[in-house]
Subunit: 128 residues, 3 copies
């Protein structure tokens, strides 16, 4: 179970190709040798309309923050490999914007505890 | 203090009765013998408009992800009972959709640490 | 790296001056003697349109929930000072509403683990 939440400021909407980013996120995770079963990967983006960055003095400031959540039980090695690959792709995806304007990219990783995690998923059926 | 966040893909909006789901969530938590004081229960739903599921090959894929956050200090027994009851209700709520289309349901539990948690609540007054 | 997410029910939109609140949040964090570098502070608000509070019997019930996320490595003393200052400001910001109607304010603090946290930020350049 991999959940990826992309928060982005709406001043990136035109240039940011967010839908393309979501597709790349899933592609990166699918490429991790089965560590993240395809049917369990769910990416989404939240468009931020109200935000305040730093001291508010940069009218063109923008940010993207990615939360990468996954079920527990994977080794640090595979988690690090997936996270590195994700962030590298994110940097590349936004590289042309990063060169032009004040942009902040960040990503955090979060692991669900075993207890208290529930799932029931019919999308897996397709990949049986 | 119980906070429940329901993220759902917008292709569930018509069939999903999300407002009904939120009401049921609170009802389930109120029924937990006072473990979650009524005035502290706050459910909300986030409609996801941009998402990418699995390899993107399922045009009708949908998901619901519930984050159940609570203040610390409750026993594992009562936390498990509440979580089990919540997810069972969620499964039932979406059962008719689950049978028809590729749907993934999931829930995670999260406990606030004691330090760094703040609250001030006038809604409790009604239940004094 | 300080990320602040303000969830608020849309029935606070008119009275709540949410954009003003975000500015105050950043101002409070900037005032913490450099504990939170200015260029890394990112506040945003999420307007909640679907929610259910307590037993649903309070047509005018409202809530604000703030998630204060930061990178690891700061001492409990400075984290507590910043959190106390933030919540005190939030209470003041909403005081006039709190007196009038059933409102719940809450804040949680969350610290990113070191591993799995990534960042690349050009906004810092302005404060270099």
């Amino acid at each position: 179970m991999a959940h990826i939440i992309v928060e982005y400021t709406d001043n990136l909407k035109e240039q940011g190709d967010i839908q393309g980013l979501l597709k790349k996120i899933n592609t990166v995770l699918i490429a991790q040798d089965g560590v993240f079963p395809t049917g369990g990967i769910r990416s989404r983006a939240i468009e931020l309309k109200d935000y305040y960055i730093a001291d508010g003095e940069g009218p063109d400031d923008a940010f993207v923050h990615v939360t990468f959540k996954m079920g527990g039980g994977r080794s640090e090695t595979v988690k690090k490999a997936a996270s590195d690959a994700l962030f590298e792709m994110i940097e590349q995806h936004f590289a042309h914007i990063f060169e032009q304007r004040p942009l902040a990219l960040s990503m955090e990783r979060y692991e669900f505890g075993g207890a208290g995690t529930y799932k029931k998923n019919r999308i897996h059926d397709r990949y049986g």
